[in-house]
Symmetry: C2
């Protein structure tokens, strides 16, 4: 039983909140490295990745193309046609590892969810996709919990910092440098980005 | 087998990074409410809390008093004299619940550790306290992993966002309002602090 894993991904001009430390081409390469880490670990967790991309990009990944603004409604068109359980996880979760993903897919509840930092939703696992729909953006974690409740679905919240830590801002890069092991960490290190401690707090700096 | 749980706590002028939204008396009451949540859940997880406080405060909690600047060396004086396993967890972890604490104390390794956001150490569990010492501040998670390795101790890293989320800054309050259930959340709500979504991002605001 290898559930499909839908991975929403934006190849062009992604991660604009990292513009303070990465140029556009670098952000695109970094997002691609994070995607590769997520794909590797998703396969390792015995799932079959399908990239849900805002445009086609050059790779052998299985791809579905959607409009950027339309993630929720695009996914909601796909969901009723899925056979079997489905995982949806974001492409900016380079700390996701086999163990954390398998804690999600091993749920004994009807579905499982992992909140992102700031009330978002980083991972959803749904056994019967006909009974659920997604509603991303804003406080989506609480919205998804409500949708599950209204549909009579039991929902386990998976307590994982690896899946909770989406990489959006400069300070998030410190988490990747501390806890990451894959291509996205190596990409940052190749740019000369490293950890620094300033007044007892940990951040990152880039050698120019 | 109820391990002691040392809980470092600063009753006077704590959490200064929350000064933008809370006055000093409010920060002290809020820190006390978080401590109470941590104590409740620590007991629930079958541990015996001992508060390691920078000064005595009025309560029936079991207290040890230390100098603020001296957390690491004070704990290192205590460690060799501890009989049996020991948990050390911070007082600013109001999302800590029974399940997450018990994942730590159930480790089959010599010790377990939970990293905080930004490279800190939020929770340590040590079975043989004579073989380990602490070194807080800065990149303490990596330091503690190294100390364990040098001592030949196997160390499990517990993947928990509940124990990873220490409450230091205004944006962290959103996590407490989303995922918290205890006195510290109720305290914030009593002050009129609530979740807001601004440009798709979740934060908090305080009604004046």
């Amino acid at each position: 039983m290898c559930p499909h894993a839908l991975i929403p991904y934006k190849p062009v001009n992604p991660k604009t909140r990292l513009s303070c430390i990465l140029g556009q081409a670098e952000r695109e390469a970094f997002a691609r490295a994070m995607l590769q880490d997520v794909i590797t670990n998703t396969i390792d967790a015995l799932c079959t990745p399908v990239i849900v991309s805002t445009e086609l990009y050059d790779s052998e990944d299985v791809q579905i193309t959607i409009k950027d603004a339309d993630l929720s409604s695009s996914l909601n068109q796909i969901l009723p046609d899925c056979a079997g359980p489905l995982l949806i996880l974001m492409a900016d979760l380079p700390l996701a590892d086999r163990e954390s993903i398998q804690r999600v897919t091993a749920t004994t509840s009807d579905m499982a969810i992992v909140p992102g930092r700031g009330g978002g939703t980083n991972v959803i696992f749904i056994k019967d996709t006909k009974r659920f729909h997604v509603d991303y953006y804003g406080m989506s974690f609480l919205k998804h919990m409500k949708i599950a409740q209204d549909a009579g679905l039991s929902c386990e919240v998976i307590d994982s910092f690896r899946l909770h830590t989406d990489i959006d801002e400069k300070e998030d890069l410190a988490e990747l440098l501390i806890h990451g092991t894959g291509k996205s960490r190596a990409y940052l290190e190749g740019l000369g980005i490293s950890l620094v401690v300033d007044k007892g707090r940990v951040g990152v700096e880039r050698k120019r």
